[in-house]
């Protein structure tokens, strides 16, 4: 497969390392032949290969990358091309990180709640490996004020971020900050440093809670009025938990490939199990 796909470019090297870089044309007839052999391989292998490709395609095409993750990639790869160390990541305190994972919020607003006093954000961080060293984490929440609330919005507000400890347990205040809205149409991302919280937690699920009070009278503010409502938001506008990690050993592409093979074997195993159960029932 590698020989077939990794075709040396004829003559000068082709550029194209950008996001829109299209596939190069196959000019190597030997490569085309190898691809043909691969596609016409033994029927069993072919069906397994196609099954795997179909499964993986479903997975990848259902994910829309968050703007923030795309901007990290664009900035870092541009810095690489120029050969400079002046990238955003290297300039920050998280310069030790060599991987950044974006976990998208999975919670939903309660549609029947007329006054949204608090909002929960849920993240499934099970994919974080113990082998990786956590060097930073931030919670990014988009404040996007709806048109109808803009005229009455100016003023001072207190943003309070809590960690949710589960049913019946009191929430723990993590951070508090003031938000001074001068312009009615001002909006953007509120970024909270949650590294310490994430570092001390060993849970696969992570939960935060946001509460906003007015600066004057400690009055609870409806989060939708202030622009934290989830309704009608695109996936790129959802809250994002950004985790900065460093792999202790040199990361090899093989680990990613092994992970993929493992999950594909897992699904094949599940199919066999179902078939066995069906036989037993018959």
């Amino acid at each position: 497969v590698e020989t077939a796909a990794l075709s040396p470019a004829p003559g000068s090297s082709s550029p194209g390392t950008g996001l829109s870089g299209g596939p190069g044309r196959h000019t190597d007839t030997r490569a085309s032949k190898l691809l043909l052999v691969k596609e016409n391989g033994p029927p069993a292998a072919r069906s397994h290969h196609h099954h795997r490709r179909r499964r993986r395609r479903r997975r990848a095409h259902s994910v829309v990358p968050h703007h923030f993750m795309m901007s990290i990639y664009t900035a870092e790869s541009a810095a690489e091309r120029v050969g400079t160390n002046a990238s955003l990541l290297r300039a920050s305190s998280r310069s030790a990180a060599n991987a950044i994972t974006g976990f998208v919020d999975t919670a939903e607003d309660d549609a029947v709640d007329s006054h949204l006093k608090r909002q929960q954000y849920l993240f499934d961080v099970a994919a974080l490996s113990n082998k990786e060293e956590l060097v930073g984490a931030e919670l990014r929440l988009l404040r996007k004020t709806p048109e109808q609330f803009r005229p009455t919005l100016s003023g001072l507000y207190d943003l309070k971020l809590y960690s949710c400890l589960g049913e019946g347990q009191p929430s723990k205040l993590l951070q508090s900050r003031s938000l001074h809205i001068h312009q009615s149409d001002a909006q953007g991302w509120e970024v909270f440093d949650v590294w310490e919280t994430l570092r001390l937690s060993h849970s696969a699920q992570f939960c935060f809670e946001l509460k906003v009070t007015s600066g004057q009278g400690e009055r609870d503010i409806d989060l939708r009025q202030l622009g934290f409502g989830r309704k009608g938001r695109a996936s790129q506008e959802r809250a994002l938990l950004v985790v900065f990690t460093r792999t202790r050993r040199r990361e090899s592409l093989f680990s990613e490939m092994k992970e993929d093979i493992k999950s594909s074997e897992g699904s094949a195993g599940e199919l066999q199990l179902h078939a066995r159960r069906r036989r037993r029932r018959r």
Binding site: T17, G21, G24
Partner: protein, 120 residues
């Protein structure tokens, strides 16, 4: 077959050029990896190709072992093969991909692009 040198002279005894960096365009779409790699969809990885024959040039940064092996090969090609033309310096690239949990990950992968080749 004979190869033509930079000066246009033909040397019948050699069929391959000296060890050097050659283009290698990697296309993740053609590899079938575009289902987990978001960006880049392709990049220039380069590869090392050519012979490591006597006398070895200093820019090839040969190891002492490679120098000895090349010398042995020049004296008796049947006793030992020539040393290997391999990457001696590699650089990383940034990759944006989707992990098993459907999360988008940015990672810097080391040793993805050949910067220089040498005899080892």
């Amino acid at each position: 077959s004979a190869f033509t040198s930079r000066h246009g002279k033909r040397h019948g005894r050699k069929s391959k050029s000296r060890c050097s960096k050659k283009p290698l365009h990697v296309n993740f779409k053609e590899l079938g990896w575009d289902d987990w790699i978001i960006a880049p969809l392709d990049y220039e990885a380069y590869h090392c190709e050519g012979v490591c024959d006597f006398p070895l040039r200093s820019h090839l940064e040969p190891t002492n072992h490679a120098i000895i092996q090349t010398l042995m090969n020049s004296m008796d090609p049947n006793s030992t093969p020539p040393s290997c033309c391999v990457p001696t310096k590699l650089s990383p690239i940034s990759i944006l991909y989707i992990d098993a949990g459907n999360n988008v990950v940015y990672k810097q992968y080391e040793d993805m692009v050949v910067e220089s080749c040498g005899c080892r």
